[in-house]
């Protein structure tokens, strides 16, 4: 290659520009939050969560007997669809980057994948925490309105401790969704895995525990679903915390670490 022919380009060399300032993490958070809800699937997930929460509140008011019009029941009715559907939001926020291949743009604009994934994680946890607080709020409203309609005393049977446990349970579910998304990086695959993880595995573990003595003692330590169950019943005892920690290490922390390592190294195609 000779230089004779490039001379004309030299006098057109670009004017030196100021180096742009780095992308702050708060901006990544805001972008990831937007991305969760500005797709068709994100939109409909939110709509369906809202609708099921409303339907559930209405159903409790209509069908529950007077003695069942308690805060606990309202909270559970609204919380359940959220606990099931919000992790799907977390899953899709990760997997769509691969399945929809939008990661090509995302990781080109922000090459530090850890920042993007960290942003998604933070947003997922925040959305989980905020939405369960909203659920408890709607539940409180339903409780007041429902008991007034039925003409019974309003029953407040969720303690602060219990409310915090429920928030934690919801956040854990979101983290499970997030973990499966990071590990599998395919929308359909991760969704199937999520339902297997939550509904098939817990049933299998239950069957195993009823038929095998040795597993019955082991179950709280290795069955993450089982250990989480205690969260919905209120404050955890020290051994219940130990169960949650141990089983969580196996079923959440370890696979998440593997998934994150894979995300950092894998090719984005």
């Amino acid at each position: 290659m000779t230089n004779a022919t490039i001379d004309r380009s030299v006098d057109r060399a670009p004017i030196p520009r100021a180096t742009p300032s780095p992308i702050p993490f708060t901006r990544i958070l805001w972008v990831e939050l937007t991305k969760m809800f500005n797709t068709r699937s994100g939109l409909w997930l939110m709509v369906s969560i809202g609708l099921t929460a409303l339907t559930a509140t209405g159903a409790v008011i209509l069908f529950a007997s007077d003695s069942e019009l308690t805060y606990d029941n309202f909270g559970a009715a609204i919380g359940f669809p959220m606990v099931v559907l919000l992790p799907v939001v977390a899953i899709l926020s990760v997997t769509s980057e691969w399945s929809q291949r939008s990661g090509l743009t995302t990781f080109t604009l922000v090459p530090q994948r850890g920042r993007v994934i960290g942003g998604k994680l933070t947003v997922a946890v925040l959305v989980g925490a905020v939405s369960i607080v909203v659920a408890l709020g709607i539940g409180a409203l339903g409780n007041v309105v429902g008991s007034a309609i039925a003409g019974v005393d309003t029953v407040w049977d969720i303690s602060m401790n219990q409310a915090l446990s429920i928030v934690l349970a919801n956040v854990l579910q979101l983290l499970i969704g997030f973990m499966l998304g990071v590990l599998i990086r395919n929308s359909a695959g991760a969704l199937v895995a999520y339902f297997v993880y939550n509904f098939v595995l817990s049933t299998l573990a239950m069957l195993l525990a009823t038929s095998q003595d040795w597993f019955r003692d082991l179950q709280p330590w290795v069955d993450f679903n089982f250990a989480q169950g205690a969260l919905f019943d209120g404050g955890l005892t020290a051994s219940e915390w130990a169960h949650l920690g141990t089983s969580g290490l196996i079923w959440l922390v370890a696979p998440l670490a593997v998934g994150l390592a894979m995300v950092m190294r894998s090719e984005v195609k």
Partner: protein, 299 residues
């Protein structure tokens, strides 16, 4: 400015990119040419950090892409127009990119205008876009941050002739303002009309590179004559390499003046004598990539 140095990327035993070195310079459009599966896209993915290299390096504006503080403001990238979230509208897609780069939302409307996507089209979800529209949206994303460097992989795919013309003018304007453009294609004709420099790649290796003028000149001379045997003997005798072109001519690897002189000295009347230019470049492209292309020696 893009600098690729001794870049290699292997997949198992396959060397998808094999010791590739080239530069794309400011103020010029560099065409990255090669048959399907030659390693163009892999090289481009390494440039923007989506694929880690096995060895070697790729820098943009003197830095690794991952070290750019806000890459979208310095490098515009379009690797695959289909790689956009199908459930997001065109406008939302651009808004996400604009927000990531920290740009005002007004740039989104300006850019939609630049790539001729109507407000109505921008409200539709990408799922319903034609390939040409996706290509325009992808180019809009690449241009959004007003970058100094453009890296575009097969950007003309799916564009209609008017769209191709529009893109050619756009890239030319970008380079004329001092920008660096690297665009890949497997179609020589597409690249030939726009590129200043060419890098030809086949099976992961660079088979030719230089300015288009140089490569055109090296493409040689087309010469036709009645007595082909005598002409061939004379040219070869003068140390000029010839390649048969059909049954009445050669492509001689020398300037037309020299070929004419040799023919005259040998007393062979010529039917045609001209610089090979585009036709020669195409033949050279096929020849260079023949052993590496799927069709074998199709040339």
């Amino acid at each position: 400015m893009i600098d690729i140095t001794a870049l290699t990327r292997t997949y198992g035993g396959l060397r998808a990119v094999d010791d590739v070195t080239f530069s794309a310079r400011p103020g010029r459009v560099t065409g990255f040419l090669g048959p399907n599966g030659a390693g163009k896209s892999t090289t481009m993915r390494v440039m923007v950090g989506l694929t880690p290299p096995t060895s070697g390096s790729a820098t943009v504006l003197g830095r690794r892409h991952a070290d750019l503080p806000n890459p979208g403001r310095e490098v515009g990238v379009l690797l695959d127009a289909s790689a956009q979230h199908a459930g997001r509208t065109g406008r939302e897609t651009l808004k996400v990119a604009a927000r990531t780069m920290g740009l005002p939302m007004s740039t989104v409307d300006d850019m939609l205008d630049t790539v001729s996507l109507t407000p109505k089209e921008a409200e539709r979800r990408v799922k319903n876009y034609s390939l040409g529209m996706r290509q325009r949206l992808g180019i809009a994303t690449a241009l959004l941050g007003d970058p100094e460097v453009l890296i575009l992989d097969e950007p003309a795919n799916g564009l209609d002739p008017a769209g191709i013309r529009w893109m050619r003018d756009l890239l030319r304007g970008f380079a004329n303002k001092g920008g660096t453009v690297l665009l890949s294609s497997h179609l020589l004709h597409e690249i030939e009309v726009i590129a200043d420099d060419l890098v030809v790649i086949g099976q992961g290796r660079i088979v030719a590179q230089g300015t288009k003028d140089e490569l055109l000149a090296s493409a040689g001379t087309i010469v036709r004559a009645g007595d082909l045997i005598e002409l061939g003997r004379a040219l070869t005798g003068s140390g000029i390499h010839v390649v048969a072109l059909g049954d009445d001519g050669y492509r001689a690897e020398a300037a037309p003046e020299l070929v004419g002189k040799v023919a005259h000295a040998a007393g062979v009347p010529l039917h045609e004598l001209r610089a090979a230019d585009g036709a020669g470049l195409e033949e050279m492209f096929l020849e260079l990539t023949a052993e590496t292309s799927r069709e074998g020696a199709a040339a």
